[in-house]
Amino acid sequence: MRKLLLYLLPALVIAASFVVAGCGKGGGDSKSIKIGLAGVLTGGDGQIGASMLNGSQIAIDEWNAKGGVLGKPIEPVVINDEGDPQKAVTAAQTLIDDGVVAVIGHFNSGCTIPASNLYNDAKIVEISPGSTNPTYTDRGLPYAFRICGRDDQQGAVIAKFLRGQQKIAKIAILNDKTTYGAGLAKVVADNFTAQGGQVVASQGVDANDLDFRADISVAQGAGAQALVWGGMYKGGGPLCVQMREAGLNVPFVSDDGCQDQKFVDTVGNNAKDVYVSFGKDYTSTPAAQAFIQAYKAKYKSDVGSYSIYGYDAAQVLLTAIQKAGTTDAEKVAAVLKGQPFDTIQGQIEFDSKGDLKVADYVIWTVKDGKLQELAPAP
């Protein structure tokens, strides 16, 4: 009996999984329109990635309440790429096999870039709400879009802030060795030196080590007047704390990867002279209020930094599908590139590469335990 069970059980499990998979595939094809929501939901970047896709989910809920798109209900297919480029490719393939017509995601540039190749080969429109690395759209992929700025724009804003506004001559740059972090670090370095500044130390560190003391000592010894972190908050938070512990009390400047409440929580009362570049603060605009309320009602938490971008991406995508009258990627992409869209960010337009025509990077700072837009220099 026991032996029989031993053979029977796996057989049953396998059979059941086929049945379930079969239902998933067969059931939705004609009755609903599937949209992939891909991004990092777990691990060090899990919070920021999940809140981004939650934003998209709210937009999809709104459309479904109005009767869906093209007369069919929208079925979101959420997938977690764990922030890992290899898993992102698998995730992309899973979505394609599942029959999604468009994808919102991914979050990490290192994931979005390899996944976008698959989506484009499969003729699926992809809008990333959060991947800022230039390579994503620079390869001439016809169906790749992003609804946020690019790191060459972001890095220029950081460099200008340090050199022009803070009058700093020497900076140290650390990055987390990801596509995104290393890319941004390079842009900041190039821009800063072009403006007559000097980069005294520039290193990639393994963000999983979480012990940055040696690099901090090197930066300190080299006379850095500011420390720039190219990377996510899981490394940025501890780095900022350790640098204050070591007595390096110069400005800490990071990028949109540190634009998260989790970063502020880690930094705690060391949050003096901490700056983060990001898009403008839309949470106080009238256009955002309905969304923020819906988000709080559904997820019982505050919106994340990328929630609005996730929401906008879904809104723009669904509007474009509705206007194109089809889910055909070519026509949807033509609509996306052909006209302006009203979003929480204001009116936006895509250029021929799929980037926003106008990026809106500004510098934020930590004040009263929250990230806030820095008042412009007088």
Binding site: T42, D211, A214, P238, A246, G268
Partner: protein
Amino acid sequence: MSSTLTDILVGGISRGAMYALVALGYTMVYGVLGMINFAHGEIFMIGMFSCVFAMGVFSLAWGNLIVLNLTLGIVVAMIISAGYGYANERIAYRRLRKAHVLAPLTSAIGISTFLQYFIFLTVSRDAVNFPRFYSDYLTNHHLKLGPVDFSYLQIMILGLTFVIMCALFYLINHTRLGIALRATAQDQLMASLVGVPVNKIIAFTFILGSALAAIAGVMYSMYNDTLIFNSGYRIGLKAFTAAILGGIGNVPGAVLGALIIGLTEALTTYGFGSEWDDVSTFAMLMLVLLLRPRGLLGERVANKV
């Protein structure tokens, strides 16, 4: 202001001391059983989560008494980690003790993945901050000896490592329990014939190693401000390397190897930049193993010490 080089050395030694606490667990289990417990890094990770959880419970129960809550937190972490370590041995390794050498090794890798994702799914998918309320005093106060500048936390880490190493050395070489340990390491069958309770001794080894890993976990999460489900992986790898470098199975060897690795990483960052630290660490490991295949101080507790 202290100079860059002394700061680097202090940071390197502190990091090495944390590697050492983890490496001791690897080395003890290897010394007694001749197997490498790849799940040890996860025990370390469970230790740090247990401590933070326990401190939260205590502060709810009777308020924010820093010293008491932190001490009890460490004790709870040691107990929980020891429990996990014992359970690992009982469930995953004991029955495989006489199997092919690869069997317990594979089992250990499985346990390691299992524990990582168990914590990931049940406790936290995201990084958790160590409550700074407890660590601020230790990290913000410094002891300055001329150009050398230690934070209280660094002194605590170094002190704990040194005391634990000496205690272990004493335990192994000068107590009846130590004799039983060494006997088990030399020949399990022979030891059991002369009345050594081999199973209990092996379980004790796991419990002790796991409790030490918990201490390391608490120190590490205090030192680096963050806890995350996969933080045991990298430090486990480094500590394992340290144990091999010093001669696996050898208690002072593990500490020596760990300090060397910590310092190498720090000095590489100073000289070449932190991108090179893994390169130099593992290059040094290869070099040492080529020249001294049994590690710096030689293998196995029993045969050598």
